[in-house]
Symmetry: C2
Subunit: 154 residues, 2 copies
């Protein structure tokens, strides 16, 4: 699918405010509401926009501890690890990656004690390295056309 300036603008607006109405979106891109809706539907059907989500602050929900747990899972244990650890509610992100630490988990907890308990579970499947998150300077930053170095299509 080929994207033009307007599509990128819509993607940008929706990544920043996923609840913006089509009327408002239309105003921002200087298009009619039906035309705008049509474009957004196309982005959804093309699998470019895969959904919409409320962004919540775990801190305010009583989950002040955030950590990245790297786990070097023994390959034979991978199925059980996915089943028993990756599925735990504390896990917000789980990526299988290259390199020595084959799994990277982002977890949120109520306390360091609960983090310890989580890490103990993960330890059963391989060696772990845990880093506490001091501060997040970017979280789910919008994907923009800037990544392409300002190259223009169409």
């Amino acid at each position: 699918m080929e994207l033009d300036d307007l599509d990128w603008k819509l993607l940008d607006l929706l990544q920043r405010d996923g609840r913006m109405t089509f009327t408002e979106l239309a105003k921002r891109v200087s298009l009619s509401a039906p035309a705008t809706t049509e474009r957004v539907r196309r982005l959804e059907h093309a699998g470019i926009v895969t959904g919409y989500a409320a962004v919540v602050d775990p801190q305010r929900l009583g989950l002040p501890i955030e950590a990245i747990v790297r786990v070097r899972v023994r390959s034979l244990d991978t199925p059980r690890f996915r089943e028993r650890v990756v599925t735990m509610a504390q896990v917000r992100d789980a990526d299988h990656v290259t390199g020595d630490d084959c799994w990277l988990l982002r977890v949120v907890c109520r306390s360091t004690i609960e983090l310890e308990e989580f890490v103990e579970q993960a330890q059963r499947y391989g060696d772990t390295t845990t880093s506490l998150v001091f501060s997040s300077h970017a979280r789910n930053r919008p994907v923009t056309r800037e990544i392409f170095g300002g190259i223009v299509s169409r």
Copy 2:
């Protein structure tokens, strides 16, 4: 702020579908639309819901390479690192963490060549370790009450 079952249900629904209408939300929690809207507004004003965002698939946007770059930034260089690297459009997540690798960056790129160019930039501020993401098994999984082990309040 004290959350009851209904608030958690609303948080869950909105994290899964951030564009759900208040009428639909109301139906799902068996409440009137105005009462539902009121509760969501309270969650927003309390800073629990910080926003809404469209979820996009970088793959479909021509960004097939995703990587986690760990950077051991020399503390004197941190301000410039934040200014010159963390702000780059490729960076979707940037966390300052404890441990040897003080920064964790999640980046998306068009190619391994562009990833290499990115890492070269990051290298100017400290040693790096790069892991390519094979697959993501969880991404921004909703924060649910399950994390609290099924404890009920109110």
